[in-house]
Symmetry: D2
Subunit: 347 residues, 4 copies
C-alpha cells in the first residue's frame, strides 16, 4: 500500500515547492485544477484567475471543492511570481496568454485545444486562426502515458481533450503493435464535458432522461485522436462519434477495431497488460468498466475483448472527463514538469 | 392532421371489437401493454394475468398507467373467452402458453424472445431448450415495417427485441439496397429495458451517474439482428454492443456501416426517405435524435449521415424501448392481425 | 370504465367545437397547453404564438409533444378568429394581452400570476405594478375543485400557480372544516416548474445530485395560498418553503397542520373522502404518493395522516407541475368555460 | 490554510498509530468507513469483514473507493489484534458483537442504531428486543459537536442516524437557548441512506423522476431526535417526516420552529455563529445550502432564517448522509477516542 494514498497528518508542516497560477479557474476544468493544486502536497495555489468572474469567491461558485480564495483578474506582468501555470481557457482564447507565460519562463500546462495539434493547417481547419502558431512545434501532447519523457522536459504541455484521452489509451497498445485497421469509436460523456455553458442545450430539462449522439458531421476531437494514433503506427480509417449522457462527470470510449491480423482475447489482454504494467493511472479490468467506478479519480479503466463472430478487437475505456480527461491529467503532467512523482496529489 | 391523434369525446359510447388478454402484465412491458389495450378505441382488456403478483391491483404496481384491474392467475382453459392475446413472459417461459393459445385459435403477439429466431439451433445456442419448436416455422417476426403483410395473416407474431427494433430499422434501407458491408452497432438503453429485475445491478445507486457497456461477450439480441438483416440482403460482419444509461425509458442504436460502394449523404437521405415514406411510426430527422424526443411514443426517429473522412454510412435510431421496442409494437401488430388501422390506439 | 379514457378511432371524423389560441407556446407550460389543445376531442389549435421563438416549429422545440405547427407572432387584431385563449406568458407580461382579449370577447385562461390575487396591493407587493388591475375583481381563481361554478361563467380565469394548486388541494377540506391552525408547507418541485430559463442555476450540472430549499425569505406563491385558504375558513399562520428536486416534472406539497381541535386519522380520511368524492382529478390514496405516479396526468393524489406524538394533521399532495399545476388545469378550466365535460381531453 | 487539507507526499513513510477493524464493510456506510480508514494518516485497516460477502474483494464491490482488500468473516476471538473497531451492521444485528468487542477492551464506534437510545423501553418500542441492554447506559451518543468530551473517554460510541445528525445540528443552538417550541422537521435523503437493500422500492425505475414522503406513521429516527433535543432544553412537540430524493448521496433537514419568544434573523444568525464557532465540520452559510455542496465531505452546512409573516425560525441543514451522517462522523468520533485531532483523515 503506497503511503501517497493517505492524507497528510494534521499537525505536519507544509512547505510549498512551487507556486502555481491557475488561469481560467471559473470553468469546470479550471476550478477542479485549482482545487487539486490547493490540496497538493507540494504545490501552492498562488493565484486563481477568471476572465468574467473576477471578484467572485471560488468556494461560492464551487462549494464542494472548498477552495477559500477569491478569483482575480490575470495580470500578465506578474508572471515572475509563479513557478508554473495551468491555463484552462476555451480554445482560441488560450494561445496568447500561454505564449506570454512561456516567453517569461513559466512552464505551462494548457488545458485548451490550442496546442494539441502539431499541424497548423489541421488546427485552422478545425478551430480557426491560431494566435501563437510558433509554439505548435514545441508543445508536447500531454497524454502522459504516451509522452512521459517529453513532458518531463517540456516548457509547454498541451493537455489532451477528454475524448482523445480515453480513446487513445484504449487503442495505443493495438496501434503500437501495428494491429489497428478500421476503427469505430463510439463515445459518451457526462454534461460537464461541455464546459460551463448556458443555454437550452444543457438545461436540466433538456438532458434529463435523454441520450443523444452529437457532432456526427465531424467532432473536433477526431483530428487529435488521429494525430496520436498515426504517430504510434499505421492505422485504418477512424470514425468518432460522441453521445451526451444524463450524468455530470464520466466518459466512456467504446472502440471497435478491425485488426490487421487475427487476435484472440488472450493475446489482447497480454498486450494491454504489458503495455500498461506499472502505470499508476491505467487499470486493466476483467469486465467492462462503468464510469461511476472512476468518478473523482484520475484513473482510466480499460476492458478488452474480441467479438467472436467478427473477430473485431474491442476496447472500452472509462475516465472521469474532468480528472484524467482534463484537470487530473494536467496535474499529472505538471508533476513531471516540476520533477515530482507523477502521482503526487492525485492518489 | 389525423383524427386518430385525439382522445375520444367523453360522452361517446364504446363498443369493443375484441377482447384481449395480457399475460405477464406485472412486468414493465406487460403492464404497458395492458394500459395500451385499456385505452385502445377498439379493444377491451378482458384479463391481465401475472405469475407472481396475482391478486395485486395493476394500478397499485403501476399507478401512472391508471389501469383499475386486479391481476389474476392465467386459466389456460379460458382461452375461448378471448379474441386475442399478448404474452409478455420472460424468454423460455412463454413457449408453452403461447403454443396452447395458438392451438385454441387465439391470435397471439408474443413479447418474449421465444419465437423470434427461425432456426431452432440458433435459438438453443442463444437461449437453451425450446418448449414449442414446432411453431418456430410459423411465427412471423413482428417488425411491422418489414413484415406487415405476413403479420396481417399471422396466428402468432414474435414481437422483436428492443435493440433489434432500433438497429434493424436503422439499417434496413441500406441492407435492402445491398449496401451493408461491415457493421458496428453501438447501442444504449435505459434501465426499464432489463425488465423488472431486483438485485444490486439495477439498484438506483448502481445505475445513477453511471454508464456501462455490457454483454460484450455476445448479447442475445445479435442473432435476431443478423437474421433479419440477412433476409434483406447480403451483409458484412455485425458487431453489436449495448450500454446501460441512467434513465428509465429510451433506446439508441448508433450504427456504423462500411458501405459496399461509396454513398453520399444525399443518396442516403433519399434512400431512407423513400423506404419509410408513409410509415406512421418511422420519422427521418435532420439532426441526431435524442431518446427523450420519442419517450412515451411508438415512434422510431432516424438520422443518417456520412462520415466524411472514412465514407462510413451512419444511422442513429431512437425509440422508447417499452413502446416501439416492446408493448407499443405489440399493439401495432395486434391491430394488423385484427384488421384494424395499424396506428389505432397508438397516436 | 369511462369511455373518455380512450383514444378516438382512427377513421372517425373530427369537427372542432372551438378554435383556441395558445399565446406563449414556446415555454414549458404553453407548449404543453398547445399539445393538449391539439389532441383535445373538441378543440382546434388555431394559433400557437411566441414572443421570441416566432418562426420556429413547435415540434422542433418540443419534439415529444408532436404538434406540427409553426409558432407565430401574436396579432392582437385577430382576436375575432378565436373562440378562446390560453395565455402562458411570464407574470407581468400577460396583463396587457389578456385584457385586450377579454375586451374583444374572447374567454381567457391566464396561466401567468397576473390575475390570481384579488387584492391589488398584495399583487404589487409581490410582483410589482399591475398592467390591467381593473380586471382583478372579475378574474376567477381557477382552482377548479374550489371554484367550479364561477369558472363555468367566467370571461377570465386566473390559472393557479403550481405550488398553490397542490397546497390548497391538500388543505382545503381541513380549512373548510375550520380546523386549520398553524401550518407549515414544505414543498418540492422538479425543474420544469421554474420555466424555460437559461443560466447556471438550472444547468444540468447545478441540479444533478442536488436538493435545495429556495425562496425561504418569502416565495411569491405564499400570498396565493393564504388568499384561498382564508376564503375557506379561519386559518393560522402559514409558512411555505419550496425545494428544488433533480427531476423534470413533479411537485409535492407536504403540509403539517396544528388542528384547531383533536382529529384522528379516521376522521381525517372521512373528511377528505367526502370532500373529494366525485372529483375526477383528486384521488385519496392509502400511502404517501410519489410524484412519479401522477407524471403526465392531471391528477392530484393526496394522502392524509395524523402524527401520533403531536396530533398534527398531515396532508401530502402530489401533482405534475406542468399538468394539474399549469397546462392540464388550464384545459380543465377551459372545458368548463366552453360548456364541455371537465375531463374532456385530459383522461 | 490548514496543512491537514493536503495529501501526504508520496515518498513520506507511513507508520500506523492504530489498527482498526471495520465490521460490516460490504454495506454503504461500512464500505466508506473502510475507505476512510484506509486513507487515514494514522490508521491502518487491519480487517474489513462482512457477514454475507466474505471472500469478495472490497474494490470489486465498490470500485470507486479503491480499497484493495478482501472481505473476511469476523473472528470474535481475534479482538486482541485490533486497537479499535467500527461496526456497521443493521440495527439489531450489532448489539452482540459490539458487546463482545467492548468486553475485550476494544473501543467501538457502532454505526447501527443499537446503542443510540438511552431508554431501553423506547428502544424496544422502536426496534424490538435489545441484545446487550446493559451497555445502553454507558454508550455515548456520538453527535460529536454535542458530546465531544464524553466521546473522548468513551469505550462505546453510538454513531447517530443520518437524519438525526442533520436535524439536531440544525436545532441545537435554538434548543440550548430554550427557544424551541413546536417543531416540524421535513427532511429528504438520497437513496444510499436506505442502505444496500434489494427490491422494487430502490430499483432505479422506482426512484428515477420520483419524490416520495415515507415513514409518515412514525419514523424510527424520531425518538433519537427527541432524546437529544430534550437533553438540551425544553422543546415542544416534534414532527419528523422524511422524503426520498432521486440522488445517491445527500440529506437535507428543513426545520420549522415556533420560537418560545420572538427572534429576528440577526439574533438567529448570531446564536448559530457563536455556537458553531471553531467547529471544523459545521458551516453557517448565507443562502440555503444544496446537498451537492457537501457531497463527499464531512460537512454540515446550515442556513437560518425567520419566516416574516409567521415569525417561525427556520434552519436548513445539508449533509452527505454517508459521511457526516454515517462513516465520516464515525471517523470523527474514532479520532477523538484515540486522542487524535478530530479532523484527521477527513479534510
Amino acid at each position: 500500500m503506497r503511503s501517497g494514498r493517505r492524507w497528510r497528518r494534521s499537525g505536519d508542516p507544509f512547505v510549498s515547492d512551487a507556486r502555481v497560477i491557475v488561469a481560467g479557474a471559473s470553468g469546470f476544468a479550471g476550478a477542479l485544477a485549482a482545487s487539486l493544486v490547493h490540496r497538493h502536497p507540494r504545490l501552492e495555489l498562488a493565484a486563481a484567475t477568471a476572465r468574467t468572474d473576477a471578484g467572485e469567491r471560488l468556494d461560492r461558485l464551487y462549494p464542494r471543492y472548498r477552495v477559500p480564495v477569491e478569483l482575480t483578474e490575470l495580470d500578465p506582468d506578474r508572471a515572475g511570481d509563479f513557478d508554473a501555470a495551468i491555463v484552462a481557457y476555451p480554445h482560441g482564447a488560450a494561445a496568447e496568454i500561454v505564449s506570454r507565460l512561456v516567453q517569461d519562463g513559466v512552464p505551462v500546462v494548457d488545458v485548451s485545444a490550442d496546442f494539441r495539434l502539431h499541424d497548423q493547417a489541421v488546427y485552422e481547419e478545425t478551430y480557426g486562426d491560431h494566435g501563437a502558431s510558433e509554439l505548435l512545434g514545441e508543445a508536447v501532447y500531454g497524454l502522459t502515458e504516451l509522452h512521459r519523457d517529453q513532458v518531463r522536459g517540456a516548457r509547454l504541455v498541451a493537455n489532451p481533450g477528454c475524448y482523445p484521452t480515453a480513446a487513445i489509451l484504449a487503442l495505443a497498445p493495438l496501434a503500437e503493435a501495428g494491429l489497428v485497421g478500421e476503427v469505430v469509436i463510439s463515445a459518451a460523456s457526462g454534461v460537464s464535458g461541455a464546459g460551463r455553458v448556458a443555454g437550452d442545450r444543457f438545461h436540466f430539462v433538456s438532458v434529463d432522461e435523454n441520450f443523444t449522439p452529437y457532432g456526427v458531421e465531424g467532432h473536433r476531437h477526431r483530428p487529435e485522436i488521429v494525430q496520436e494514433l498515426e504517430e504510434l503506427g499505421n492505422v485504418g480509417a477512424v470514425t468518432f462519434v460522441p453521445h451526451l449522457v444524463p450524468l455530470d462527470q464520466g466518459l466512456m470510449a467504446s472502440c471497435f477495431v478491425a485488426p490487421r491480423r487475427a487476435v484472440d482475447a488472450e493475446e489482447l489482454r497480454r498486450l494491454y497488460a504489458e503495455r500498461y504494467d506499472g502505470e499508476a493511472f491505467v487499470e486493466m479490468v476483467d469486465e467492462p468498466p462503468g464510469v461511476r467506478e472512476v468518478r473523482d479519480t484520475n484513473l482510466c479503466r480499460i476492458h478488452v475483448a474480441v467479438d467472436g463472430p467478427t473477430g473485431r478487437a474491442m476496447a472500452f475505456a472509462a475516465i472521469d472527463n474532468l480528472w484524467k480527461g482534463a484537470a487530473g491529467q494536467a496535474i499529472q503532467n505538471l508533476n513531471l514538469m516540476l520533477g515530482f512523482d507523477e502521482t503526487e496529489g492525485l492518489v
